[in-house]
Structure formats: C-alpha cells, structure tokens
Amino acid sequence: MTTDTLTRDPASTVPLSQMDVSDPKLFQSDTIGSYFTRLRREDPVHYCPESAYGPYWSVTKFNDIMQVEVNHQTFSSESKLGGITLQDMQSGEASLELEMFIAMDPPKHDAQRKAVSPAVAPSNLVLLEPIIRERAGFILDSLPVGEEIDWVDRVSIELTTMTLATLFDFPWEERRKLTRWSDVATATPETGVVSSFEQRREELLDCAQYFKGLWDKRANEPPKPDLISMMVHSPATRDMPYLEFLGNLILLIVGGNDTTRNSISGGVLALNQNPAEYRKLMADPGLIPKMIPEIIRWQTPLTHMRRTALMDAEIGGKKIRKGDKVVMWYLSGNRDDEVIDRPNEFIIDRPNSRHHLSFGFGVHRCMGNRVAELQLRIIWEEILKRFSKVEVVGAPERTLSNFIRGFTRLPVKLRGH
C-alpha cells in the first residue's frame, strides 16, 4: 500500500471522536480491519456517542474482552436491556419480543441452557459423527469436478442445514426451511433478505407455528436425544411461554446455521489466499484438527457480542456508566498482537490455536462449539480424500451485517486428485 492510499484511507483519517465501526457496509466490503487496528492502537476501549444504534462502547483488545465476558454480574445479556447485539433486540414497531437463553442472565439462563446442552454434548456427538460424515460425503460426491459452482450454497449451507435437521430430527425434505428462518432471523430490510420488518415477523411466526406442530408430536412420544424432545420433556423448558419457545428455537437455528456455514466457506478462501498453507495441509492431513480452530479464529463468524452495564465499571481505564451499551468486538480481539502471535497471518499449525475469542467465554460461551469443530473437521477430511484443490475462481460476496461475518457466494472449481 502506498503512502497516498494510506492517507486517504478513512480508517486512518477520521477523527477518533467520530469513529463509528457499526456500519454494516464496512463488514461487507471487508474493510473494517484497519478501523479496528487503529482502535487497538489509539483507543482500545472506544466510546462512540452517536450511531444508527445509539451510543456504544467498543472493546477491541483480547484481554479487555475477556474481562467483560467473565463478569456477567456487571455486564448483562438481558434482552429487555437490549440483549446481545449492537442492534437492540426489542426495538422497532414490528419487532417480536423474543426471549432466548443467550439473552438472559443467571439463574434463568442456567436452567434453560442445561435443558438443551446434552444434545450437543460430546457423548451425543459420538453418535452423530458417522451420520455427519456420510452426509458430507454424499454432498461432496454430488458435485461436478472442473465446473464453476457456488461453494456457499452447494456445500456450506447444505452441510450445516443437514446437521441442524439431524439435531432437531426435523422433516428431512423440508430442511431448507431452517436455512430460510436462520437468514430471516438475523435480517433487516436493507439486506434484501426480507422486504420489511412485517415480513420478517410473519415468517418467524410461521416458523413458530411449524415447530409447535413438531413440539406437540414430541410431547406425545417417549423422550429422544433431539433438541425439541429435550425441551418438551425438561421441567426447565416444557412450560415456556410462546415467545420464549420461539426465541430459543431461533437461537439454536441461527447458532447452528449462520456460524459454521461461514467458517466452512472462510476456510476455503483462507487456504486459497495462503497457498503455502494449502500445500502444507495437502502434505499432512494430520494437521486438520489444529487447523480447525485457526479457521474459526480467522473467520470469526460472529463479529461481536454486546452487553449492558448494570452498574458503573471500568474497562481498560475507561469509566463505563450504568446502562451503557458495551460491544465486545471478537473480530478485533482475534487480531490482537499482544495475545496472538502474528495475528494477521493464517497459520494452519499455529501453536495454541484454540486460544481465540470466536466462541466467547464465561457462562455464555458457545454451547455448540464441539458440533462446529466436528463438522469442520469432517468436511475437510472428506474434501482431502476427494479433491486436490477447491480453487476459488471469482470474488467472494460477503454478508451485509455488522454481526454475522459471512459469505453469500463463493465461486469455486474442484480439482480431482
């Protein structure tokens, strides 16, 4: 980069007092990185007094983020205070007052999380592994070699949707409904996924109605290890009010869909951008388990989580006031060179690669992290068996969102062995 482009880069010229990192376009164009680099250097805990989402703090360094994560007594996830994203959960006239355990504080959070976590616990995943592997193989075997295809649609979405349908024991032929509901749940009208908040509301109510049918069916059957049956039969969740039922479903759908999907695509892109790493992988497929956490760090499929201060507090020397909105930018913390060596390099055999922020920490740490790692490990093992290269042949298209860091399209060609 020349000095000329550096000086014209808005990330380095905008006055700090006006720096607002919430614009979804900065994420879609993948230009957000230089803004975070500057904040980590010049103002690691940064106050933005005015934005489309109101005033908010940005916490950009790894250790400061960790401090917020583990202090749930001070930094609340409660949906009625705004919840867990920069965009307040319960805002807008057509919003649904959804409740989900990711946006609750203990003790209610604890009871609901415990009710569903066995579905994604290691002992259940051992049973799932052969099913996921068979389906991954089926997906890959159906792809044409040497022709341009969209990896996002054909592989990333397909695999995560199949896994989610398995976890829910969802009607197989209708599984793409899960993909649609996941997209709708995180969409705003500007993304084009829905045309209005009213449409979003209608579709999510359809989702609730559909699941209500599955719920009633499970209630009349003996308990099984799928997520719906677990919720139906657990005292902590069986009498949930309607909007809490819908909220927790959406949490599980988005959590299981929109995240791993983008790490699957992001890994393909990262290996293409770092051909020496791709060669290293081909030479030693035993590196896959070490590579998976590095892909998840590199992609950081959720850019942030947000908290609301329940009392005055201090982070990195800054005074946070009761009621303030505090955004932990995982995407920035995962590039913090004080904690991660050479953070801007994608290194598949990075020592200590598990030490990243993408799953969060503390009581809200990602419940499905092992399912995510399992799917990524399996898909890469099966890819290496079949193809010498998944070659990116065009520019990726990225998601318009300051929360989901993902891809809507990734054109690739497959090369056989």
């Binding site: 994560e69 503390g362 740490r365």
Partner: protein, 108 residues
Amino acid sequence: MPTVIFIEPDGAEYPIAVKSGTTARDAAVNNGVPGIDGDCGGECACATCHVHVDAAWMSRAGMAEPGGMEANLLQFAEGSTENSRLACQITMTDDLDGLMLRIPDGQH
C-alpha cells in the same frame, strides 16, 4: 516437585512432575495430555479443563466454591459431578503430591 497424575477414560495414566505453584491445567496442556484443551488460557472462563478429582483426594484438592465462576461453568460441562473441578483452579503444592485427576469421557 509435586506430581499430578491424569487418568484417561481408558485408564492410561500421565504422571507429570511440576514446580510448586503450577496449575494442573498448565501441567496438562504443556505436556500434551489428551482431553485437556484449556482454551481460555487458564482464566476459569471455558470449562475445557474439566476433571474429576479422585475420591481419596477430595478433602485436600477441595471443591469448587458454590456460586463462584468455576461452579457456574461446571454446571454446563458434560458429566459434571460433585468431584468435578476445573484443572486451571487447582494449584499444585507439595501437599498435593500424587494428586489423581480423572479426565471425563468425551471431553472432546
């Protein structure tokens, strides 16, 4: 140097001698004991270093403080029992020489 002994679900034992003051989590991670990931770096924030303290050692290795962060996290860990601890919260001393920690089945 006190020794901590990690016992895998299949019965395999990993005895590791460490300097007094080292946590059991660091002893495991720095010596490649399978099943102890310690993702958060030993900050009591992820529960990926869950162990079951051998019954004979419970009085000396202690229990997770009720209501504290360690107990908060352990409630979500698979196979959590009253013998459960996070290895990052056990600091090795001469008094704990020979401590036996069992790694739960399927920590991965």
